[in-house]
């Protein structure tokens, strides 16, 4: 059976005494992991009566509880809906309402955010708290450590099918509201297999997972394939460069995957090199292109370590791989499709274009999601005839089969690998009564790649308080969406039809941008 349960059951069968998971407080063998997953799955059935196909929201940072919940929910045919811990309460409310979750597992680190919107979620019936929270809800520890839990819960016999939905992974909402990409067990397994082929994970690997497990890359391209090969997963709850370096050293970490901003922050530390960190053998860049200079700066510190780049998206996970050898000749490429992934560059009519010609990148394969939750029109728009998925990314392919990413078809800002639509920030700023108009766009940032810059037209007779705009955004948006720069302008450039000319905003010579 091509389901997620096979992954942890096989790891338990083949390597019962191997340490599979290391957190801040625990080291769990695969036998211990499997026992806890079974107990938890059992409680989901007997305490909550979770039925196949029901959504269970998972609000937790990188932790053992996240991994246990993920496998336990999917083991009983439930759909796990991981929620990004960095979201603001209102964003969390939107996601939980959209997914229609009746059940939620909430870690103490996210409890205050969750509690502030709980009353606005009438569909949510049961809550399982992880850690110390003041509420009359079920307790994760009690369920998992219950001594009299059935050893072989009957519910596990109702194993899900490979094509059943296992995960609801929300996109970052680059062109509007986030959408829940539905991934089946088979999709997740295929994505995991792709990652194994691309990165060559080994049984003796120790991977430090720095990216949030709620992110598609961390979940199915790092955690899942590492459990498949019986490696060891070190969960990093929160990124701190010095702390990560000490973990790599203490746990003999052999590989980790991160966004370019993380690598740049690590490069500040002189001890981020092979001499101090001899266990490292593989570094993987994710979510945004790494500049050639940073790539070679890292290679200079880790001459024998493989540094690979990749390209992927929530709906299809990791699709390409750019090895060190390829990067030497084609540093600006996103690489070649992983075996098992089909990719094509097409024109507006959906016809493949010639090498070197720009078009939209399409992907196809068993790793591609089933569509968007409760969004039939968007799902129909996502897929093209022949099972191809439209990525919304523009690029080209060269004569050697390497792909190149040019950007999104629509404007997005990519801040430290996290992508979002400027309109989200614009809508937030427009909530201020002092603001008449606003336009937001991404501007280069040396560490994060891009950050938001807001051009604000304040209403007549009000004091142009740029700091007030930043304060408002900080209060209501997650950190990566808060503008680093706010500029007060008299008017925004528009064409004769009144349409905003975003390109002109990027040029300082734009006559409409007369500063107050």
């Amino acid at each position: 059976m091509n389901t997620l349960s096979i992954v942890w059951c096989e790891a338990e069968r083949r390597w019962p005494d191997k340490i599979g998971l290391i957190t801040e407080t625990e080291r769990l063998t695969y036998r211990e992991l499997a026992a806890r997953i079974r107990r938890l799955a059992c409680e989901f059935i007997y305490q909550w009566d979770v039925r196949p196909g029901e959504v269970v929201a998972l609000l937790a940072p990188n932790s053992a509880e996240f991994v246990l919940s993920y496998f336990a929910v999917t083991a009983i045919g439930g759909i796990v809906h991981p929620v990004d811990e960095r979201l603001k309460p209102e964003e969390i409310r939107f996601l939980l309402e959209d997914s229609g979750a009746r059940f939620a597992i909430v870690h103490q680190a996210l409890w205050s955010k969750f509690a502030s919107v709980w009353n606005a979620l009438p569909a949510l019936e049961r809550v399982l708290a992880v850690g110390d929270v003041e509420a009359n809800v079920d307790r994760f520890d009690k369920w998992v450590h219950q001594p009299d839990a059935p050893a072989d819960p009957a519910g596990l016999a109702m194993a899900p099918a490979a094509d059943d939905i296992a995960e609801l992974m929300y996109t970052s909402g680059t062109i509007g509201k986030p959408k829940g990409a539905m991934r089946s067990h088979a999709n997740a397994r295929a994505a995991s297999s792709n990652a194994r082929r691309a990165f060559g994970y080994r049984h003796n690997d120790v991977i430090a997972i720095v990216m949030p497990l709620s992110h598609s890359s961390a979940l199915v391209s790092q955690m899942l394939p590492m459990v498949e090969v019986g490696g060891t997963v070190v969960l990093v709850e929160r990124f701190d460069a010095a702390d990560l370096l000490s973990k790599i050293s203490a746990q003999s970490v052999s590989c980790f995957r991160a966004v370019p901003a993380t690598f740049k922050m690590l490069m500040v530390y002189p001890e981020f090199n092979s001499e101090h960190l001899p266990s490292l053998r593989l570094l993987m860049n994710s979510s945004a292109a790494i500049e050639p200079k940073t790539h070679w700066d890292i290679k200079a510190r880790f001459p024998e370590v493989e540094l690979v780049n990749s390209y992927g998206l929530t709906e299809a996970s990791t699709c390409t791989i750019l090895s060190d050898a390829m990067a030497r000749e084609h540093a600006d490429s996103i690489g070649v499709p992983i075996p098992g992934v089909e990719m094509s560059v097409v024109d507006d009519a959906g016809c493949p274009v010639g090498d070197g010609m720009t078009g939209e990148i399409w992907v196809r394969g068993p790793h591609v999601c089933l569509g968007y939750h409760k969004l039939p029109a968007e799902t129909e728009a996502l897929f093209a005839p022949g099972g191809w998925m439209r990525t919304g990314d523009m690029g080209h392919k060269d004569s050697q089969g390497l792909f190149y990413f040019h950007g999104r078809k629509v404007d997005v800002i990519n801040c430290g690998g996290r992508k979002y639509a400027p309109v989200e920030v614009e809508n937030c700023i427009l909530e201020l009564k002092e603001v008449a108009e606003v336009a937001v766009l991404g501007v280069p940032h040396p560490v994060l790649g891009q950050v938001a810059k807001a051009f604000v037209v304040f209403r007549d007779h009000v004091v142009a308080d740029r700091k007030a705009v930043t304060r408002h955004c900080t209060r209501y948006l997650p950190s990566h969406k808060v503008p680093f720069y706010v500029e007060s302008v008299d008017a925004l450039p528009r064409n004769s039809l009144g349409k905003m000319l975003h390109r002109e905003l990027k040029t300082e010579s734009c006559p409409a941008l007369h500063k107050k």
Binding site: R86, A109, R238, F239, D240, A241, A242, D243, A261, T262, M265, V268, Y269, C415, G416, H445, V447, L448, R471, T474, R475, S479, H480, V482, F484
Partner: protein, 86 residues
């Protein structure tokens, strides 16, 4: 320098838009989820504006607590509005 301490806490509260009790002795980044790596970069930018200096990468990476920021303020002889220079 008690006044500087209060002002630094207020500065942090302002940049991160969260309520931090001013009687807190020290606030470390690791204990405070809103002070994430992106907000840290924005904080550095705001600090550079207030101090009128450019902080290099090592200095920025070392500013991990309210006390360290306080020391930076004192080192640069900066007084925030409402505080007298000593």
């Amino acid at each position: 320098m008690a006044n500087t301490h209060v002002r630094v806490i207020e500065f942090l509260s302002g940049v991160l838009q969260v309520d931090i009790p001013t009687d807190i002795d020290d606030l470390h980044r690791r204990e405070f989820s809103d002070w994430d790596s992106i907000n840290h970069l924005r904080l550095i930018m705001e600090l550079e504006e207030v101090l009128g200096v450019s902080l290099d990468d090592e200095q920025a990476a070392d500013l991990l607590s309210s006390r360290q920021i306080e020391a930076l303020f004192i080192r640069h002889g900066v007084t925030l509005p409402g505080e007298k220079s000593s």
